[in-house]
Symmetry: C2
Subunit: 338 residues, 2 copies
C-alpha cells in the first residue's frame, strides 16, 4: 500500500527496504554495501525488472557512457571493418556507440559533433576531413576526447591511430622487385593531394633507393581510382614499354589494370605482375586473386577504442600517442613469390 514512489531506484529501494543511496552503491560501489543487503537489492531489482536510467546518471555525472564514431561512409569495406571492430569493442567495454556518417561533408561532420556534445558523449573517434587545425579545435570544443583514425592530422592535440602507408608502399615495391635490381616499377596512383597516395609513392621510392637502383618509376595517375580508370591504364601499360611490375595503390585499380592487361593479350602474372592495396575481399574472391597490402582494420578499430577509453578514465596518467600499424603483404596469384 505504501505509495510507489517514482519508478527508478526508489522503487527498488522500497522493495528491498533500504534507501536509494544504498541501491546506487550496491550497483556502482558494491564494496560499500554489506553482502546480505546487496543480495536483497539484487533480488528486488530482478523481481521488479528494474532498468536503470542512463539519462539521470548522465545528467548528474556530466558524461554519458557513450562513444561517437564519425566516418565518411560505411559502404566501403575498409570503414565497414573498422566500424564493426569499434562497435564490438565499445560494446564489450559497456559503452554505447553513436554512429555518424559524414559523407565527407564538413557541415554534416560538425552537426554530428554537436549532437555528440548534446548527448554528453564521453569521447569520439573520427576519420576527420579537411585537416585544418581550427576545424579540429572546433570539434574538440565540444569537450569530448577525440581520437583520430585513418587520416591523421599533425596539429591534433590528442591520440591518433593510422596505418603506415609509406611502409606499405615500400613492401609492395620490394615484393615486386624481388631480388632483381635495376628494374623499374609502374606505379598506378591516385592524386598526390591524397596523403595516402603520396605516402605509398614515397615508400616505393624508398625501396628503389634502398637497392641503389635508378629511379625508374613510371607513374600513371588515376583521378578517381576506379576499376574503369584502372582498365584504361592497364591497356596503356600493355601498349607501351613501361615496367611490367605494377603497383596499384588500391585494389579497384589493380582489378581494372589486370582486366586491361588481359584485354590487350597479356597474362598475369606471366607477362606482368600486379600488386594492389587494401586487400578487399572482392580481390580475394574474384577470378583473379590479387596480391595486396592488407591493413589491420580490426586492430586499428580496437586500438582507437582503447585510446579514447584511456583518455576518459586514466585522466592525468594518460599520454597522447600516435600509433602507426604496420601493413601486411598478402601474396596471391597476381604477383606470386618470385
Amino acid at each position: 500500500m505504501a505509495a510507489t514512489k517514482g519508478l527508478g531506484l526508489a522503487r527498488v529501494a522500497e522493495a528491498a527496504g533500504v534507501s536509494v543511496a544504498t541501491v546506487s552503491n550496491a550497483i556502482n560501489r558494491p564494496h560499500l554495501v554489506a553482502e546480505a543487503t546487496r543480495a536483497r537489492i539484487v533480488d528486488a531489482m530482478n523481481a521488479l525488472d528494474f532498468v536503470p536510467n542512463r539519462a539521470a546518471a548522465t545528467l548528474r555525472m556530466g558524461s554519458n557512457r557513450l562513444l561517437g564514431l564519425v566516418v565518411p561512409e560505411i559502404v566501403n569495406p575498409f570503414y565497414a571493418a573498422i566500424t564493426e571492430a569499434i562497435a564490438v569493442e565499445s560494446g564489450a567495454r559497456g559503452y554505447a556507440l553513436a554512429l555518424c556518417v559524414s559523407h565527407d561533408d564538413p557541415v554534416a561532420e560538425l552537426r554530428h559533433f554537436e549532437m555528440l556534445a548534446e548527448h554528453r558523449a564521453a569521447g569520439a573517434i573520427a576519420v576527420p576531413l579537411g585537416a585544418s587545425a581550427d576545424r579540429l579545435t572546433q570539434l574538440q570544443m565540444v569537450g569530448t576526447h577525440l581520437v583520430l583514425i585513418d587520416r591523421i592530422v599533425d596539429e591534433h592535440n590528442g591520440c591518433s591511430v593510422a596505418m603506415d602507408d609509406v611502409l606499405g608502399g615500400r613492401m609492395a615495391a620490394e615484393h615486386l622487385l624481388g631480388s632483381t635490381a635495376g628494374e623499374g616499377i609502374a606505379l598506378v596512383n591516385g592524386p598526390h593531394t591524397i596523403p595516402q597516395c603520396a605516402d605509398r609513392r614515397r615508400g616505393v621510392m624508398q625501396a628503389l633507393h634502398a637497392r641503389g637502383a635508378r629511379d625508374e618509376v613510371v607513374e600513371f595517375e588515376s583521378p578517381h581510382m576506379t576499376v574503369e580508370e584502372g582498365f584504361q591504364i592497364g591497356r596503356r601499360i600493355a601498349s607501351t614499354n613501361s615496367p611490367r611490375r605494377i603497383f596499384c595503390t588500391n585494389d579497384q585499380l589493380a582489378l581494372g589494370v589486370i582486366r586491361g592487361l588481359r584485354d590487350s593479350g597479356l597474362t598475369v602474372p606471366i607477362d606482368a605482375r600486379v600488386v594492389g592495396f587494401g586487400d578487399l575481399t572482392l580481390a580475394t574472391e574474384g577470378d583473379t586473386q590479387i596480391t595486396s597490402i592488407a591493413q589491420p582494420k580490426a586492430e586499428m578499430g580496437r586500438a582507437a577504442v582503447r585510446k579514447v577509453l584511456s583518455e576518459i578514465t586514466d585522466g592525468d596518467q594518460h599520454r597522447h600517442t600516435v600509433t602507426m600499424f604496420p601493413p601486411e603483404l598478402v601474396v596471391r596469384n597476381s604477383a606470386p613469390l618470385p
Copy 2:
C-alpha cells in the same frame, strides 16, 4: 557579478534577461515566444556557446532522441548499405543512432536491447535472430518501438521491412528461361532452413509452373554458400547433364560456379548462363560481371527509419505495416538478355 547559476538554460536565461521556461519555449515551442524575445535568446545562446543537455531532457521526458540499430554484422555489403542508409536518415531527422553488432549471438542481442532501454532509446530497428516469439516480447519488453528489417517474423506485433525473396527467385528464373518453355533450371541454393533460401526457391517454382513446364529443377545445396563451395558445384554441373541455366541464391556462389564452369572448359554465357542474387559490388567489378537480383538496400533502410519514427510520433494514428520491397534484375554479361 550576478553569480552564474548553473551552466545550462539558466545561464542563457540570465544573459537574455528571461526565465529558463522562456528559453526552453524559444527552443521547442517558438510560437509561444514573442519574436523580439526569441531573437535575444538566440543571440545569448550563440554568445555563450550553449550546448543543450539531452540527458536532462531525456530524464524529464522519459525518452531520448535516439534510435537503436541491431545488425548481425557490418562487414557484409548488404548490412553495410542498410546501416549507412539508416544512419543518414536518422541523422537527418535529428535522431542519434546507436549501433549494435550482434554477431548472431542471442546473448549479445539481448544485452544490446537492455542497453538501448537504459538509454531510453525512442525506438529500435533490428535484424532479429532466432525468430522465437517470446524472444521478441522480451525485446519489446524494453518498451521501445521495434521495427524488424530483412528477417521478418510473423509473430512480431509491429512494423517490418523486408524484400520479396519469392518474387526475386521468380524474376531470376524467368530471366533465365526467357521465352523458351519446357527447359529446367539448376538451382544452387543454401540450406532450406534459411527462410531466404526457401523463398527464392519457391519463386523459381512459381516461374516454372507459370509457364506450364514440368518441374525441372535440379537443385544443388551449398551448406555455407561460399565461393569455394560454388566452385565445386560449378565443376559438378559441368560434368553432368544438369541444366545450363543456373540460378545461384547469392553472388558468392555465382562467382564460384562461374569459376568452376570455366575450370571445366565451359564458357559463360555461351555454354551456360548464370544469375546471382544480392548484386554485390564485387560481382560488378570482377572480371566477370554477374547478372543479379539487386535488393533496394538504401530504400529498405530509409523505410525502416520512417516506420519507427511514425510509431514514435504518430501515436494512435499509427498502424503497423509490413513492407515488402520488390527486387530489381540487373542484367550483365553472365546472363545477358536472351
